[in-house]
Amino acid sequence: MLRYILGRLLAMIPTVAVPMVLLFLLLRLTPGDPAVVMLGEDASVEQIEALREEMGLNEPLIVQFVAWLGRMATFDFGSSIFLRTDVSSAVLGAAAVTAQLAIFAMLIAVLVGPLLGAVAATSRSRMLDKAMVVGSTVGIAMPTFWLAIMGILALGVGVRIFPVSGYVPLTHDFWLSWYYLALPAIVLGVLEAATLFRYARNGVLDTKHQPFVRTAQAMGIPSRTITGQYVLRAALVPVVTVIGLSFASMLGGAVVTEKVFSIPGLGALLLTAVERRDYPLIEGCIFFIAVVFVVVNLLVDIVCALLDPRIRFAGKD
């Protein structure tokens, strides 16, 4: 397994580097640059050209690329053009906010989705199961922004349980920080729970018909033990995969949720950076997201192997 992990870690280099090169090219080839955004609508063509020159945006692409490559090789993302701060600290700061939201949302999703999925599977075809299946279908079909707005109207404006937007840093007030994130976490968590519900329900139903379950039943092992110790464990494999990918996705920025709730996370940071064509900041955000995806994928594979010994790495173990 160690060899497998090392191999996967080495494979991370091209997996991250190739998208970064493509990103560099796409950004420079896309119309619009930070000079235009910085100077504003009333700027003349001459003023824009002068600022471009000053910012080095008029250098030939190959010259810009070589300089960029040198910086990337040393993980030097430079400074954000608009934030006037180090890209690494800006990205890590925003990622910490997103991670807090993602953890909260996943906690809700993991507590609700798989549990209800297992319950639905064990009461298959009954009214409860059907109701939960319909509910999860609605949840999966619901757009994030719609549920977010409905949540705000119901729980923020209507009964005023939660704040309608904003973020309080953990260092400023620990409990208030979680409180401000509660509504966005519920929105994300409910949507994610609907997906996990489907995977858990299907996983349990599939596993219940596996030969090893029949064998266990024939051996007289109590039904509760079979479900709790064997069925759920095997059924969790696809659920863990989905949890991992969803978590990575959220860490990559829950763009819509962060935007609607004014949460200064990675998604909001990336969106603003793209609007402003803040090249260094876009590159920093994308690099971070790419690394997160690769690492989380690796972790998911390892956890799946631990859950299900039948899984073999690259057919060598």
């Binding site: 955004v37 409860l128 979680w178």
Partner: protein, 523 residues
């Protein structure tokens, strides 16, 4: 037994929600107590508008001057209808022969960092402004800014012009006066703080997070009645916090008083809803701006006047207004570049605009030899969403239209390339002087640079005072309709929405504005 499991799970979630609910009320900012509905001193006013940069000189984007407008002042100030008043200038004289201004400063004006305003501060500020992108026109017109004594500044112009006070009137120009010491300390770098004079002073600014200003106790206000950015200014709120505008959620932020003022609220089509909501107060500022169709006068089919005339005849401004605003109640149908309450209002050339007839478009297109080559219409759906409607109107008149829907950055870049577009959609604001109308610059994308225009602009610039300049502007206004470098559509109202506990915010034209004379009352 099995049936209890979902109940247990739901109970757990509900318990979590209830625990979190217990935290409710811990956050939020309450204003100081007062009698119900009465304005009060104190509290924190939260404004949903945060500039990307604090330095008023580095950008031409007026919304970036929103913080500076509460913290700093200029020699001159715009009233609510964009007329020009004295600001830090007590008085001034203008010699039309030499083109020289002698400006006397108000006495005893305290600066945030200590000391009082002197001519050295004004000279340093205006020199920096003249060299900046925001002050390019001022820089072109002025040959020297110098101090006569501590309280008198001399501005010498390249050639006589009566336009200088309008070009230096804030908040809708970047001509704010800052301390010479702070400008010297910043050198060529962008300003990170604002050391000047105003009812508030800047405490902190973090990009994309917040700018916080607090009452400046040393401020010495003018004594005239408040009028837009001019007259008396009182800091009722202890602090003003500027936060980023959340377009998706700002109305709910206002309803719950998490935000108090949304000054850049563009959409008017939900006005009736806001008016009927007791938690909100909509404030409508008539004549605050207009939509505009800009022609490419340098390359392509619209270098031909007949093509521009054909397009003008094809446009139905009322349909565009209805689509943009949902009603024609809050527009002023006028051909003038200035609204009817402006001293610069002019009906010259209105007969050309009013005589438009879609039936004439095809004849003009035939006359111009238009062969159906697609017209490239560049626009931003985020701000000028009537692109598809205009396409429909033009195609009904015989044009073939290719829509180029882009984001803000692409728009700003693409329109600087004359080979990349034929018409683009933009917007104008309220102006204090014709020379501040950006579309009239030769270098503005569209590149309107005819001899007739140059002659009139030169005459307008050289005019000593309003009486001398207004007839020239009337001629230039007529020329706009005759040469059609762009089509100015109806004047629109702009909407500010506040939470219902905000009092004292008066309608004002222009984009930037300060938030003095505004207070919070307890509901």
């Amino acid at each position: 037994m099995k049936n209890r499991k979902p109940a247990i799970a739901l109970t757990a979630l509900a318990t979590t929600a209830v625990i979190l609910t217990g935290c409710a009320g811990a956050g939020g900012t309450a204003p100081a107590a007062s009698n119900s509905g009465e304005p009060t001193e104190g509290g924190e006013l939260i404004v949903a508008s945060l500039p990307a940069m604090i330095d008023p000189y580095v950008t031409t984007s007026r919304s970036n001057w929103m913080v500076a407008a509460s913290v700093c002042e200029g020699l001159f100030a715009n009233g609510a209808n964009m007329e020009v008043h004295n600001g830090l200038a007590e008085d001034y004289t203008y010699d039309a022969e030499t083109g020289e201004y002698l400006i006397t400063l108000r006495d005893g004006v305290a600066i945030h960092s200590g000391g009082t305003l002197t001519s050295a501060d004004v000279v340093a500020s205006l020199q920096r402004y003249a060299e900046s992108d925001a002050g390019e026109l001022f820089g072109e017109l002025v040959s020297e800014v110098s101090a006569v004594d501590d309280a008198t500044v001399r501005i010498a112009t390249v050639s006589p012009t009566g336009a200088i006070p309008a070009l230096l009137a804030v908040p809708d120009t970047g001509a704010y006066i800052l301390s010479a010491a702070s400008l010297e300390a910043a050198g060529d770098a962008e300003l990170e703080t604002l050391d000047c004079t105003g009812p508030y002073q800047l405490d902190s600014f973090t990009v994309d997070d917040s700018a916080v200003v607090s009452r400046f106790d040393g401020y010495v206000s003018r004594e005239e009645e408040p009028d837009g950015g001019a007259g008396a200014k009182v800091a009722h709120a202890d602090t003003i916090r500027f936060v980023p505008l959340n377009e998706d959620n700002v109305i709910n932020q206002l309803r719950t008083q998490q935000v108090n003022i949304a000054p850049q609220f563009v959409s008017m089509d939900q006005l009736a809803v806001y008016e009927s909501d007791p938690a909100l107060t909509p404030i409508v500022s008539p004549g605050s701006g207009f939509s505009l169709i800009q022609f490419n006068m340098q390359e392509g089919p619209f270098t031909d006047l007949r093509m521009r005339q054909a397009l003008m005849n094809a446009v139905d401004p009322e349909a565009i207004t209805l689509q943009q605003m949902g009603s024609t109640d809050y527009v002023e149908s006028t051909s003038s570049m200035f609204p009817s309450d402006s001293v610069w209002y002019s009906e010259a050339g209105s007969e050309i605009w009013e005589a438009r007839d879609p039936a004439q478009s095809q004849a003009l297109l035939d006359e111009a030899g238009y062969d159906g080559t697609p017209i490239r219409l560049l626009y931003r759906p985020s701000s000028d969403n009537y692109g598809p409607l205009l396409q429909q109107q033009l195609e009904a008149a015989g044009f073939t239209v290719e829509l180029l829907a882009v984001d803000k950055a692409t728009f700003g870049d693409t329109r600087t390339d004359p080979g990349a577009w034929d018409i683009f959609l933009a917007g104008g604001t309220a102006y204090s002087d014709p020379l501040t109308v950006v579309f009239l610059n030769d270098s503005f994308p569209g590149w309107w640079a005819t001899d007739a225009k140059h002659d009139l602009v030169a005459e307008l610039t050289a005019g000593a005072d309003f009486d001398e300049r207004k007839p020239v502007w009337d001629e230039l206004q007529r020329l706009i309709w005759e040469e059609l470098p762009f089509i100015k559509l109806d004047h629109e109202s702009r909407l500010i929405v506040t939470s219902s506990n905000v009092t004292g915010l008066e309608p004002a034209q222009g984009t930037a504005r300060g938030f003095y004379n505004v207070s919070l009352s307890e509901q």
